[in-house]
C-alpha cells in the first residue's frame, strides 16, 4: 500500500508540467525557426506526413526481417538438397 502511495506521489510530481490539450497559452509564442518552421508551415500538415512515414517505415522494416527469415530457410533447404 505504501508502495502504491509512493507511485502516486511520483505521478503528482509530473503534475503541472503538462501543457493543456488545446490551450494556446500553454505553448510558447516564440516564432519557430529552422526545421520547426518547415514542419509547422501549411497548418502543420507535414507533421501528419512524418507520422504516416514513420508507420510506413516500421512496416517495411518488419517486412524486410520476414524476408530475411525466408531467405535463411531457402538457403538451408537448398543446401540440404545439394547434399
Amino acid at each position: 500500500m505504501t508502495n502504491m502511495l509512493y507511485l502516486f506521489n511520483l505521478l503528482t510530481l509530473l503534475k503541472g508540467q503538462q501543457p493543456k490539450w488545446s490551450d494556446p497559452n500553454s505553448v510558447p509564442t516564440a516564432q519557430p525557426t529552422g526545421y520547426e518552421a518547415m514542419m509547422v508551415s501549411d497548418d502543420k500538415i507535414w507533421v501528419v506526413l512524418a507520422v504516416v512515414l514513420i508507420i510506413w517505415v516500421g512496416i517495411l522494416i518488419y517486412l524486410f526481417r520476414t524476408d530475411q527469415k525466408i531467405s535463411t530457410l531457402e538457403r538451408a533447404l537448398h543446401e540440404a538438397k545439394q547434399q
Partner: protein, 250 residues
Amino acid sequence: MCGGSDLAYNLGYGLSFSQSNMTLVVKRIKIGIAVWMTAVILAAFVLSAATKLPILEQTARNLYFHVPMWFTMMMAYFVSAYFAVQVLRTEDLVWDMKVVEATRIAMLFGVLGMLTGIVWSRFTWFLGTGKWWGSDPKQMMAAVQLLISGAYFVLRSALDNPRLRARISAVYTLFSVVSMIFLLYVLPRLTESLHPGTGGNPAFDKITDPTMRLVFYPAILGFFGIAWWLFDQRVRLARVEEDTEGFYIQ
C-alpha cells in the same frame, strides 16, 4: 499432369482442395485489407477534420494514425494472452510460437505509437521548447510497458528447454498483459496528461467530430488487418520451418 508431379503435389504440403480454397479466401481478405487501408489513408487526408483547433491544426488528422497504433498493440497483446492460455492448457508448442509472433507485433505497434506520439507532440505542445520527450504520464507508462514486454524475449533467451520456456514465458505474457491495463488505462488517469480523459481534458467522444469517426474506426480495423497480415506471414514461415526440419540440419 503426370503421375510423379501429382504425387509430389499431394505429398508436398498436403494441400487438399478445401485447404487451397481456404488459402484463396485468405488471399482475397489480404487484397481487401490493402484496398481498405489505401482508402483509409486517402480519406484521412482528403475528408474534413477538426483542423481549426489551436495548437493542433492539421495534426488533428494524426488521430487516424497515432491512436490506432495503440489499439492494435492492445489487440495484439490480448491475442498473445489468449495464445499463452492455450500454451498452458494444451502444452502445444505451436501456441508458443504464436505467442512470440503476437508479442513481436504488439511491440512493433507499441514502438510505432511511441515514435508517432513523440513527433506529434514535438511540433504541437512542445513547439519552441526543443523537447522531444514530455514526461507525459501515458508516454512514460507506455515506455515502461514496452520494457516489460522486451524482457519477455530476454527471459526466453535464458531458457533452453523448449517446454519449460513455453510455460514460463506464457505465464510472463499473462503478467505483462495485465500490467499493460494498469499502466496505460489506470495510472495515467490519476494525474494530468495530454491524452483524452485525463487531467480535465475532454474524453475521446467529446473531442471528435462525426466525420472524423468515419475515418478513425475504419483506420483501426485497417491496422488490425495489417497487423494480422504481418503475423500470418511469420506463423506460416514458422510452420514451413517446422515441416521441413527433418530435411536439413540447422
